[in-house]
Symmetry: C2
Subunit: 458 residues, 2 copies
């Protein structure tokens, strides 16, 4: 029996996965189709997709040819965009249509939304009428809206049904949605009026009316709701599935927790990338695409560091007289930049999880100022003593310490105020905050240190 069960790849098993990739590589090189099939057959589609992503483009091409290009639609939907485009481009239309035909409509939507118009149309033509209409309707919703995320197949029950009616209906249905956990109870106009968990239905006698079982206190999701808000709701309220309604409040679909989980992960990952100035890139992207994706942030950095250079250039006299200033000045700027980034990261995350709102913003700003001040004083003492000792100039130490306190305070203030302000203005606080904050801490860092030095030491 147990040969049917797998433990998923753990840390130690994961090496096995790498040796599996190597085995696939070898088999592809030898051109042994049968061995390839015997390696790929037992794998989950997500693992096959990972293998395709981890091998080189030429190996991928060879693998697909050897595989007879009979690629599964599920594998396609697991692939990263760049590799998927590459694979789909090389796939004959009829094989592509066949791969897509077996998918649930929400997966088809996910696959075709990135295709260009002619390829999209060619593919949609091959679908059954019902599926094509469903996909086309889904495509009319905004890309980041609940309408795109939802599945349209829903199991509903009228209010007057009993548990027995639902069970009989489900037994008679020739196709049930792949994943559902609740039956949605609707009125005659298709407005959701309640939800019943499958487990509750199963644990209840046939004759009980579902109106007695259903949870009336549930949340519906407007079809045009931003998926970020959808993911927030699932996470906040520990929802497993939720009915999606049109502007008239009629049921049009359902979103399940697995969809919400993907969105939630994507959102955190996006914030993480944006804070580091990384755009929309995949590990499989080609060099030139990555170069372009990273270019904007580096341009901003260049602009910001030229601004800093301009500040420094105002103090060339002072640096010419006391060259130790040039040695010590990056310390103040670095410390401010990192302290600002710490505050910023916490703030961006708190805004995303809606823990930071106008209710507590003032208190958090005050706290960050205090934190900046306290860490500023501690590090000012350390670096003041160290710097003064190094160049045997106590006043230089005093200047360094004062500049450190100023810049750490500014770092705390900028780190919290910049993302809050961007958020108020409707911009994504993760997107531009980093550039703002480090520009501020660099400029204030250099200016306060060199300015105080020019004033107090010359």
């Amino acid at each position: 029996m147990t040969e049917h069960t797998h433990n998923f790849p753990a840390e130690e098993d994961y090496g096995l996965n790498v040796s599996l990739v190597d085995a696939v590589r070898e088999v592809v090189e030898q051109g042994s189709q049968q061995q390839l099939l015997s390696l790929l057959d037992p794998l989950h589609e997500a693992d096959i997709a990972d293998i395709l992503e981890q091998i080189s483009p030429s190996e991928r091409e060879a693998l697909l040819t050897l595989w007879g290009r009979e690629i599964d639609g599920e594998v396609l939907s697991e692939l990263e965009e760049g590799v998927r485009d590459e694979v789909m481009r090389d796939l004959p239309d009829d094989l592509l249509a066949e791969a897509v035909r077996d998918l649930e409509t929400d997966d088809v939507v996910y696959l075709v939304e990135d295709l260009d118009e002619p390829q999209q149309e060619k593919l949609l033509e091959k679908l059954d009428d019902a599926d094509r209409i469903a996909v086309e309707r889904a495509l009319t919703y905004d890309e980041d809206s609940a309408g795109r995320l939802m599945q349209r197949e829903v199991v509903v029950a009228p209010e007057h049904w009993t548990v027995g009616d639902i069970i009989d209906y489900m037994r008679g249905a020739d196709h049930l949605p792949e994943s559902f956990y609740d039956v949605i109870v609707v009125d005659p106009l298709m407005h959701p009026v309640g939800e019943v968990r499958l487990a509750t239905i199963m644990g209840t006698a046939r004759e009980v009316p579902i109106a007695d079982l259903m949870e009336k206190d549930f949340r519906t999701i407007p079809v045009d709701q931003d998926i970020e808000d959808v993911a927030y709701a699932f996470n906040q309220y520990h929802m497993v599935s939720a009915p999606v309604v049109d502007p008239e409040g009629r049921l049009v679909g359902v979103i399940t927790i697995d969809d919400a989980m993907e969105v939630l992960e994507d959102e955190v990952e996006e914030d993480m990338n944006r804070l580091a100035g990384v755009g929309d890139e995949d590990l499989t992207d080609k060099v030139w695409r990555i170069v372009r994706a990273r270019f904007p942030w580096l341009s901003v950095t260049l602009f910001s560091s030229i601004l800093s250079a301009t500040v420094i250039s105002q103090f060339t006299d002072a640096i010419g007289q006391i060259v130790a200033l040039a040695v010590l000045m990056p310390i103040v700027a670095s410390m401010g930049g990192n302290a600002g980034t710490q505050t910023l990261t916490v703030a961006v995350r708190a805004l995303a999880t809606r823990d930071l709102t106008s209710s507590n913003a003032m208190r958090i700003v005050m706290r960050e100022v205090m934190v900046g001040l306290m860490n500023g004083v501690v590090f000012a003492i350390v670096i003041g003593v160290a710097g003064g000792g190094w160049f045997q100039d106590p006043m230089l130490g005093v200047v360094l310490a004062m500049a450190m306190v100023v810049n750490m305070l500014v770092a705390g203030l900028a780190g919290i105020l910049v993302p809050i302000t961007l958020d108020k203005l409707g911009a994504d606080p993760a997107l531009a905050s980093g550039a703002f904050v480090t520009t501020v801490t660099d400029i204030i860092g250099f200016f306060s240190f060199l300015g105080l030095a020019a004033w107090m030491l010359l």
Copy 2:
């Protein structure tokens, strides 16, 4: 009917939430218990917890007193650790025990695991025997293991049952787990041999044996598995629930997708924080706790920037002769630091999602070197021309451009090699990579620019 359904707080509705917090504040100030209850009663426990987090400690104290401290166990388990400790400390033992008694045992575990021993024992004493034993057993598993995450209540069925047997069993059970989506089929020794979705059971006639319905190809989770690996498996294989087994392969519990979703979010958030040098802190933490949490990273930054200063101090002669060097030197270091952080962020994420493995590491390293080189050349030309023009010294421009190419190349290399190496050594690549990489880019940035200048310009 529709007054029972809520749309969850959307962007625009979210303001309402803030005014709700204000309303609660006002009611607490007026000391009107009835109004407080009428405000809090319709709210989800997660929203009540958010209100408690967003108001100040003194307001929180007043609210809890006014509320009669009849706090719900669910609210406790939604609170951030700091606030939860504060609330639980002030709660009389009997009220605490009452709050905890209604929770599922996995929530109790979550609540008590952070308590100190005497408080833990006092609380456990108040539980029913069965619950206490369950909680105590769960606490024997490692904090980050599947054993802590799982719920112990599982609906199982022997292999020889039919659909009808399961339905009858569930109808007769006096307590079913709060959330479950699969029935786990076990052999007489409690080894899982299959899984059946509730939806499948419901859609099938009573007389059908479950052995005909069950999915035999499913994944089990070892009870000592790290929760990070558990979350990975749920995400990779789109699992909804999975049986947890002891070392003998016997069923001991089940993990559901909602638990996995929380872990997954925590892991991404942790990586994001660690990259920015933010430790384990909550938005509600007090100043001194935050100061301590951010101190280590700032110490590392200080050490790193003193290293950079030491490098610069080797070139005081050059800077004394050409003060423009001091003006321009931070540009090279900044660009390298940001380019390195971009690469690093992508690498840390790719390691976490296991998209970056030894199968493709070499190719990704080569790609990052190419990206660094290409962006390096582009920005070298821009800054070389700009810097040379600014100080009317073409050779200074050439030096600046050369240093830029070197540092961007180093940034790409360090950004990818440091996290891969840390991962190979078994360390968390998110934790220390940032410090390593920016130290490298600062030092190489200053050294290459000042070194080339000393060599070519003096």
